[in-house]
């Protein structure tokens, strides 16, 4: 890229021109990363549902379990399973999940590490289902990717989010007629149509896109901006004060070494239920479970509030006595809690959740159309549009693999879930390998085929994989669509129907791409044609 073309030193460009260049290059540089983050984040609004679909052995939840009993059962199980654990936490199920997620430190000291598992709320035993990461794979990929070390992944996600924020703001400044643009749509006009689609998608969801980008940064802000904390927070008491503003998670204190059984977790959860409602308990954390110094925190769920701020009861574990009640946090912490909750949308009811999904999908399409627009705009300025220069070809290929290819890879992940043998060792990782191998194959395919053919073939492949997924589900599980519809099994019925809707979307895109013929533009904007004439060759990439 020859940046001198975009931002000129001598001739001072107008504000809108420099913002347009900024928008273009910032968005392009991490556009593919952002697209993948947007799409995996979008489906993560149905993370629990995807997880349920990927564990078809677990019966659909007919009514929510008694949380106090479920917590006690899993606590008993963990007592025998990991007796040396200095700390464990349970995430109790709600209407959307049918298992208890638990994670624990294996033992005290340097050899201890975190492990996790899912448990049946009815028995307390580890669930008996195929080994899979479920919807958590998309969820984690969304902010830390996969093969990267976690911290580096999160830093990359933060950088991408920051780029996104800059792209949004510079994009807004670029558009003088944002309202008129929104109601303008020029069908079948090549670059114009892409531009109009990009504008409509961006403006339609603008408040959401701004919110989701900023709140995304807020979710990991302590990693991105640790300086204030490093300067001001020194003593263990200060650290604990800050932590209590952010989460109900407890760090284990020193154990006394004096063994003492844990009092009834059930009773403690009942007290919390009396306070917040029977279904509105989020987590139970226990430190030093078999020691006289044990502590238990039980936190409030997100029903009826848009905030992730911790509200919790702290109990003495040995006696079950209530020690502290945390029912509010400071104003800055509450602001952070609300922003965090807005990002995750866990407070949503079904309708709100679908709205989140659809607007977020529009955001994904905003990034995707922007990436395509970049190539369309440059290709038609070429003296011979059929022989693009290297940079343009590269962007085109990466676009194909990261847009159409990602759809294929995500669908293949779900196929892998149904087709890999249940007894396969390390099965959960194998499912993920399927995802990455298929994605890499899509990239190779895009490199080898002419761009248009690659688009069409990959879009049809995604269509086929999505359209046949309900068929595969019917063949490999006892919960086919007619069964789930008849029994009101909305998780399975919803997955099947959504797959078909997404298949239809991909089919429309495939047909439109296949029909598309590049036209010689009759009226190239004058300045553009002049520039193309003056600087025909190595150009901007």
């Amino acid at each position: 890229m020859k940046p001198g073309n975009s931002i000129r030193r001598d001739a001072t460009p107008g504000l809108r021109q420099s913002m347009s260049s900024l928008h273009t290059w910032v968005a392009l540089l991490l556009g593919w990363v952002l697209y993948a983050m947007f799409l995996t984040g979008t489906v993560s609004y149905f993370r629990e549902e995807i997880s349920q679909w990927m564990r078809p052995e677990l019966a659909p939840q007919v009514h929510a379990p008694d949380l106090a009993l479920a917590a006690q059962r899993v606590a008993d199980e963990l007592k025998t399973m990991v007796p040396d654990s200095p700390q464990w936490s349970l995430m109790l199920p709600d209407a959307r999940s049918n298992s208890v997620y638990a994670f624990w430190r294996t033992k005290r000291g340097p050899g201890g590490r975190f492990e996790d598992g899912r448990f049946d709320p009815a028995t307390g035993k580890a669930i008996d289902a195929r080994d899979t990461l479920g919807g958590d794979f998309f969820y984690r990929f969304h902010f830390q990717f996969y093969y990267l070390p976690i911290v580096w992944g999160r830093l990359l996600a933060g950088l991408a989010a920051m780029f996104m924020l800059v792209a949004i703001i510079s994009g807004i400044i670029t558009h003088k007629k944002i309202f008129i643009d929104f109601f303008t749509f020029r069908w079948g006009k090549g670059q114009r149509s892409w531009l109009d689609a990009h504008n409509a998608l961006s403006v339609f969801g603008l408040p959401f896109h701004l919110m989701i980008t900023y709140t995304g940064l807020v979710t990991l802000m302590a990693l991105y901006m640790p300086w204030g904390q490093q300067l001001a927070i020194h003593t263990p008491t200060e650290r604990q004060q800050l932590r209590a503003e952010l989460s109900a998670f407890l760090q284990p204190d020193k154990a006394t070494g004096q063994a003492h059984a844990l009092a009834s977790i059930e009773d403690m959860v009942r007290q919390a239920q009396a306070r917040w409602g029977s279904g509105n308990i989020a987590t139970v954390t226990v430190t030093n479970p078999n020691d006289a110094a044990s502590r238990v925190s039980i936190s409030r769920g997100e029903e009826g509030r848009v905030s992730m701020s911790p509200q919790y009861l702290l109990f003495e574990g040995s006696s079950g006595k209530l020690l502290e009640t945390h029912d509010h946090v400071g104003p800055a912490a509450e602001t952070r809690g609300v922003l965090y909750a807005l990002h995750l949308g866990r407070f949503s009811d079904t309708a709100t959740r679908w709205l989140y999904f659809l607007v977020s999908l529009a955001g994904t399409a905003m990034v995707g159309t922007g990436l395509v627009l970049w190539t369309v705009k440059r290709r038609q300025k070429l003296p011979d549009p059929d022989r693009p220069y290297f940079g343009l070809r590269l962007v085109e290929k990466l676009n194909i693999a990261s847009i159409a290819g990602l759809s294929i890879a995500m669908a293949a992940f779900l196929w892998g879930n149904r087709l890999l043998p249940v007894g396969l060792p390390d099965r959960a990782s194998s499912e993920i390998q399927v995802f990455f191998v298929v994605w890499a194959t899509a990239l190779v395919h895009a490199m080898l085929r002419p761009s248009k053919a690659a688009w069409v073939e990959q879009l049809w492949t995604a269509t086929a994989l999505l359209a046949l997924l309900p068929v595969l589900n019917a063949l490999t599980t006892s919960r086919p669509l007619w069964h789930s519809l008849a029994n009101g099994d909305w998780v399975f019925a919803g997955m099947d129907l959504t797959c078909w809707a997404l298949a239809a979307l991909h089919a429309v895109l495939a047909v439109r791409t296949a029909r598309h013929t590049r036209r010689v533009r009759p009226a190239v904007a004058k300045s553009e044609s002049r520039r193309a004439a003056a600087d025909p060759a190595p150009g901007e990439a």
Partner: protein, 99 residues
């Protein structure tokens, strides 16, 4: 050779702006995340308020850097904005260094 020189001279201001945006912007945001510690509020609240504000500062700084009419002005603007934040942050910094 001339062509190369021309390109370098052409690219230098842009490279300077990119550095100003990425690193200067982050530096300003980091200062902005420390400055609230000077406010008469509890430490956790000041720390969190600083973190929350920092991304807005960062984004604003990047926009400024590319909106300014020259790379030099872009840097100058960042420095001017840094002065009050630095004045607020400095005592805390020194205090932390001593304690």
């Amino acid at each position: 050779m001339n062509r190369l020189m021309h390109r370098v001279r052409h690219a230098a201001p842009v490279a300077s702006r990119i550095a100003a945006a990425l690193f200067g912007g982050y530096g300003l945001a980091a200062l902005g995340s420390i400055a609230p510690l000077a406010l008469p509020v509890s430490k956790p609240q000041a720390v969190l308020a600083g973190m929350l504000a920092s991304f807005v500062i960062y984004a604003g700084a990047v926009i400024w850097v590319f909106a300014a009419s020259s790379a030099r002005r872009a840097w100058a603007g960042l420095l001017v904005a840094a002065v009050p934040l630095l004045l607020a942050a400095l005592p805390i910094w020194l205090q932390a260094g001593i304690s």
